[in-house]
């Protein structure tokens, strides 16, 4: 038993201060039971305001057509698809934390996985808006589904990356939602059993599906989580791979590259972790959860950010090298003139991307900066600006000058309704996040209790004895084997 509970002294505690199981429940559930704070209301109302502006922007687009946006003959994909890829990418960190880190047995994920998974779901909801409303005649959106119809039946094209995307994104959303909610059920039952108000008993009774905490149910729950994690891991990699296929399978210079799938996945995790940092730095402060989302958690995530940022940097350089080495004049032009050249119409966006994504995260090689909350917060915003520009660079600088100079487009600037749509998805994202943080436990209560005796600060103090005992035990065992 002792060895099962053992975790090295070298590892800092994941739950700070002396905590009992009951205190863990108290600390995490209390914000749900209290009245929302003034700050919560301000944030929530701003989000709803943005959401309404977004709804109006979409209303204009649906009523008057895609012409409400400044997309033109060569720039058929502009802010909309940039935003789509950006939001999908942000979602990826949630799945990485909840699934891949579960498989790798990373204890620190328990502090942040619930909020990160919620972020995934909200980000994918935002992402999905863009291709849907970009269709123009959105009432025909169901045409993307393969159903028996009276037009032949004329089926969808299963060979098209755009259809792969439909399957990838909808599967990703569904699986993330199931994973998140199945993890929430026991914690919602905790809230239910503490509830005193009638409406709260009703609501959490409804949401927790009658969970009791039976050992058999926990056994199945563990099995379910493990398999869902196992399935989500290749799924999350496939989703951004498929998103990158939207570009990579085309013949547009700047898009037609085999490096896209791994480069997109790394970029997605990079931007996703930055968004997790932004959200958690605020949440831990506002909800008083600093003992559960510790500086350790933040430092580990900053390490992931510097790693993935550097992978993305290597990908940028590889792309440049191949565009020269490949000797394809069109591709060479796309990189040398449309991107690298600072004085070309969009050259600034390429260098903004380079500065934000590759150069600035390198400050996280320093432990002191990794553990600085203000620096982390600004970096998390900078990374997401950089990653937005990455998608903008890929999409717009590749298509504004195509093979025919006669159809080179004029400079593309978004209309207020394109910007409004983007702001609207921020509204959607933060409205959902504010509601989530008010009504749901933002930290997985049961999972924290599960690691408390291994990684809690008060319990770690006892580890020294276990360490000594087990070393002696190990010595005796080896000695014993030697003689027989």
């Amino acid at each position: 038993m002792a060895l099962l509970r053992y975790e090295s002294q070298v590892r800092p505690p994941l739950v700070e201060n002396e905590k009992t199981y009951h205190q863990v429940t108290e600390d995490i559930v209390r914000p749900i039971e209290a009245n929302p704070t003034r700050l919560w209301w301000i944030g929530f109302l701003i989000s709803v305001g943005l959401l309404l502006f977004g709804v109006y922007s979409i209303y204009r687009e649906v009523t008057y057509g895609v012409g409400q946006w400044n997309l033109n003959k060569t720039i058929g994909w502009g802010w909309d698809i940039t935003n789509f890829v950006w939001w999908v990418g942000i979602g990826h960190a949630g799945t990485l934390i909840s699934a891949i880190l579960l498989l790798f047995r990373q204890g620190w994920r328990t502090g942040v996985n619930r909020a990160a998974e919620a972020m995934t779901i909200f980000a994918v909801m935002c992402a999905g808006q863009f291709p849907i409303w970009h269709m123009g005649r959105v009432w025909m959106a169901f045409f993307v589904l393969p159903y028996a119809n009276t037009r032949g039946p004329l089926w969808v094209n299963f060979n098209s990356p755009l259809l792969w995307d439909v399957f990838a994104i909808s599967t990703y959303f569904t699986v993330s939602l199931l994973f998140w909610y199945s993890g929430l059920i026991p914690d919602l039952a905790t809230v239910r059993d503490r509830a005193r108000l009638k409406w709260r008993k009703f609501m959490y009774g409804f949401l927790s599906f009658g969970w009791t905490g039976s050992t058999k149910h926990w056994q199945r729950h563990e099995s379910l989580s493990l398999v869902l994690a196992g399935m989500s891991t290749p799924l999350v990699l496939s989703v951004h791979t498929v998103v990158s296929f939207d570009f990579a399978t085309s013949v547009i210079p700047g898009w037609h590259t085999t490096i896209f799938p791994p480069y997109f996945v790394a970029g997605a995790i990079f931007s996703g972790f930055a968004m997790v940092q932004t959200l958690l730095l605020i949440s831990r402060k506002v909800l008083n959860l600093e003992e559960y989302i510790t500086i350790e958690h933040i430092e580990v995530m900053n390490k992931v950010i510097v790693l993935t940022g550097s992978i993305v940097g290597v990908a940028y350089l590889t792309e440049l090298f191949i565009s020269w080495y490949g000797q394809n004049p069109n591709e060479g032009w796309a990189f040398a003139q449309n991107r690298l050249n600072l004085f070309s119409p969009y050259g600034w966006s390429y260098w903004l991307m380079m500065g934000c994504n590759v150069i600035s995260p390198q400050i996280f090689w320093f432990r002191k900066l990794r553990r600085n909350l203000v620096v982390t917060f600004f970096m998390s915003v900078i990374v997401n600006i950089g990653m937005w520009f990455e998608r903008f660079v890929i999409i717009v600088t590749s298509i504004y000058r195509d093979y025919l100079p006669s159809s080179w487009s004029t400079y593309y600037t978004p209309t207020i309704w394109e910007i409004g749509f983007y702001l609207g998805t921020f509204g959607l994202f933060f409205t959902c996040y504010f509601l989530f943080s008010k009504f749901f436990p933002v930290i997985a209560v049961a999972e924290i209790k599960h690691i408390l005796k291994k990684s809690g600060e008060s319990y770690k103090k006892n580890m020294y004895h276990i360490e000594k005992e087990s070393a002696e035990q190990l010595y005796n065992d080896v000695h014993h084997d030697h003689h027989h």
Binding site: F158, D193, W211, T212, G213, Q219
Partner: protein, 198 residues
Amino acid sequence: MAVKKFVVGCFDDEGPLFDAVKKVRKSGYKLHDVYTPFPIHGLDKAMGLRDTSLHTAGFLYAIFGTTSMLSFMTWVFTADFPLNVGGKPHFALPAWIPITFEFTVLCSCVGMVITFMYLCQLAPFVKKHHFHLRATDDKFVMVIELTSKTNESEVSSFLTGLGATEVNVQNAETGWWLGRYDKEQKLFVEGQSETVSA
């Protein structure tokens, strides 16, 4: 789903549970269940529960997803509506890998979650008897069913001896019924049932 009589023992820590479960099984009492606020690894084994086959179900759903999607796309593009896309082959297996994969994952995950909910009888408006409200907070609740052979006070003192800090006797319905948590609802009205055995 009858009303039965149970002796409920609450433990403050998961530590004594393993030993307690072992002793309960040894002494021949009917262990109904142990309710815990978080999963305790190895307790299922100690209780003698068999491993869950949920993952096998997930595998079968996955196989269903793979075969159904692949055969559907094959039928559509080779038999029902063969489209000539730039002279490419109708049976375009490599191009179908992404969709086949996604559908496999979708079927497996959705199927497993539904199976999980069915097996554990979890759904909105499902209500169950909860032996202790803090079983989802910080109490580890061991429930022993009273039979004609077991004595109430004997089991109670047995549980106290194992380290239970709180012991009580409850008449409870097993299983589930439709209900709301803001209302006292039971399937049977207490006192009317004849299945309670003292």
